[in-house]
Symmetry: C2
Subunit: 229 residues, 2 copies
């Protein structure tokens, strides 16, 4: 246990919610940072607020940034989100849903916020297994970012080092779900879909398929509703 403050990059998704529950179990006071980056599904921000309330955070900042102006991704551009892809197809190359520099940008904002609220830790839900194509989910990226942030911030210069924690990094989706359930994470509030139908998850994009497989492997029922059910 610790009384450290932790900034949690909270998207309202399954992974970031389980990550927040882990930070809380580590004894941290949670400061949620949600980045509203012009993604096509604003429902994420609402879910992040509900998760924050459920976990009892010390603060929650929702920061708007129009990454759409930069372009280059199916999540912010008008590129079609792939549907019904088998695992093998999902595993090759860098997916079209990759947002250029997203984790670099998000971690930079988290580092700035950590400095302001006096947090010594950033928790984020990066995972290498299901998203092996995302270069900014790799452990070597996280360590390189941590080094840059410690050199480039007042906190780092003054000797308060900032640690970046990605506790889900090597977990399978089923393990993430089991961990979330053990810690009482509000999984029923989470949202993972790349291409929701109204407020319902599509059930067919890569993210939905990975989530559904994870619940199946964990042997528990997914508490959210899907448009295809």
């Amino acid at each position: 246990m610790t009384d450290a403050r932790a900034v949690v990059l909270a998207s309202g998704g399954l992974d970031s919610t389980v990550t927040a529950a882990i930070a809380k179990a580590d004894g941290c006071e949670l400061f949620f940072l949600t980045i509203d980056y012009g993604q096509r599904h604003a429902v994420e921000v609402q879910r992040a607020r509900q998760v924050a309330a459920a976990l009892g955070v010390g603060g929650h900042v929702v920061l708007s940034i129009e990454l759409r102006a930069i372009g280059g991704s199916a999540l912010t551009d008008e590129i079609d989100v792939p549907k019904d892809r088998e695992g093998a197809a999902r595993g090759t190359g860098i997916p079209v849903t990759y947002v250029p520099g997203r984790n670099l940008i998000f971690l930079s904002l988290a580092a700035a916020h950590a400095e302001v609220v006096g947090a010594s830790r950033i928790y984020f839900g990066a995972n290498v297994l299901d998203y092996s194509g995302y270069p900014d989910c790799r452990p070597e990226f996280i360590r390189a970012f941590e080094a840059a942030a410690n050199i480039g911030t007042k906190a780092g210069v003054e000797g308060r080092s900032l640690s970046v924690r990605a506790p889900l990094l090597t977990m399978t989706k089923a393990d993430i779900i089991r961990t979330g359930l053990q810690l009482g994470a509000p999984l029923h509030l989470t949202h993972s879909c790349y291409d929701p139908v109204g407020s319902l998850a599509c059930g067919r994009c890569d993210s939905c398929l990975i989530r559904r497989e994870g619940f199946t492997k964990a042997g528990v029922v997914d508490p959210i509703q899907y448009a295809l059910s």
Copy 2:
């Protein structure tokens, strides 16, 4: 000479404008990225547009991000900007105008934009002499950031390395001004003030004092108007 594309972090200020002129002299096609971060002087964004037009850029993206939500600086918060400080007072410690993580955030956005437009270089106007208190202007930060960006982006993974250039890093303000004049940089369009009076520079904040001293030392007349003249 090169035909490389370069993203230039363009604030409409003196330093970034001279930096852009250097990038152009290096033979790069310029892609301006201006971050509108809720600073108190929106005049910066207008000046950046005028500088872009004067230099003839290949593209100009103005990206809004409400860093005010994060807080912690005189440039975005309601902290008073210091006035009429002598050089010695300006040189000590980290100034209140330091924006937590600003260059980390700005370079991250530039790296994302570089990936989208296919740029292999980022130019930015960091300077260690006049702003020694800013940890994110130090050369070791720039190198650490470059490493993180190359590990964390698709471009880096695919072998297109990104180089971060800060050509003004060790130049005095007088040298920056002389370089700008030699390269025909539109210094008359630039804006450096932390606390403008209408559209005029105040002439008394640290940034104005450094600029005015620089023009005096360079032996040329500053082409902009000050509120105190």
